[in-house]
């Protein structure tokens, strides 16, 4: 019985950790960036932040509604003076982490030196995590939302239609 409980806990912990992507590979770009935003929020920080959101203020109210279930938010956004600072291959250590069976690609687009990818982590078919990678010349953004169930929750601060609707549809086959 005890072994079973340990196994169950390990599975739960493993699932939570699997949704979180190690973004250390991007640290090398921080020093080269013209401007950078780095956000690391674990579940306790998200909850603490949510408790300070004012439900009567427009923007804050929208975010407050959206953070339910969010277990972590990790963001790296870098802007560079010129376009040769990073190559798309530099994103490999990030994308290698989503090769597991629970990650499914929602959107992949690569053209003109730009790469956009949105991946969802699913547990028992339900979305519970997201990774967004947006790379274009001179700009790189990686967002990892752990515990996210609906893409539209992340667009709380703006209009966001079709893409959010599509994310609720059945998982597309893994490429």
């Amino acid at each position: 019985m005890r072994k079973l409980m340990v196994a169950v806990w390990m599975m739960i912990a493993g699932t939570c950790l699997a949704q979180q992507i190690d973004l250390k590979a991007l640290d090398q770009f921080a020093a080269k960036a013209k401007s950078k935003t780095e956000i690391n929020m674990d579940e306790s920080m998200v909850k603490s932040a949510a408790s300070f959101l004012n439900p009567e203020k427009g923007d804050e109210a929208a975010v407050k509604k959206s953070v339910n279930g969010l277990k972590g938010f990790f963001l790296r956004s870098y802007e560079f003076d010129n376009s040769g600072i990073f190559k798309l291959e530099d994103l490999k250590p990030i994308l290698d982490q989503i090769k597991g069976p629970n990650w499914t690609s929602f959107l992949r687009n690569q053209e003109d030196g730009e790469q956009t990818e949105i991946w969802f982590h699913r547990t028992n078919g339900q979305i519970d995590g997201m990774l967004l990678v947006a790379a274009e010349p001179g700009e790189l953004t990686v967002i990892n939302a752990v515990g996210l169930t609906r893409l539209e929750d992340l667009s709380a601060l703006g209009e966001f239609g079709k893409l959010a609707d599509q994310s609720q549809k059945k998982a597309p086959p893994k490429p």
Binding site: A49, S51, L53, A134, L151, L163
Partner: protein
């Protein structure tokens, strides 16, 4: 020995002014002074506990506010990126549509 005992246990009058001296000692302000010291010490401890509580609450508020600002920034950037993605998708779809029409 009997005589010594009798001598030892013989009733003696208290020295003059003994009762007054005892009463005066009981009313000396020293005792009251002690209680004030304790009261002051207790008040100081209470003030310190209250002060620590206030500082902790201020720190919690500051951390919460900072976390809130970070969360708002995170949502703004994410919302903006998702809109970019949507716009890019729309462009791709439009391009594909134009190609199919040609």
């Amino acid at each position: 020995m009997e005589r010594d005992l009798r001598e030892a246990l013989r009733r003696r009058e208290a020295p003059p002014g003994f009762a007054e001296r005892v009463l005066a000692r009981t009313q000396q302000p020293e005792t009251r002074g002690h209680s004030w010291v304790w009261l002051a010490a207790a008040a100081l401890v209470l003030l310190m506990i209250g002060g620590i509580g206030v500082v902790q609450e201020q720190r919690r508020q500051a951390e919460g506010e900072r976390a809130k600002q970070e969360l708002m920034v995170a949502f703004r950037i994410t919302g903006s990126k998702l809109r970019d993605v949507q716009e890019r998708l729309a462009t791709i779809q439009q391009r594909a549509l134009q190609r199919s029409e040609q």
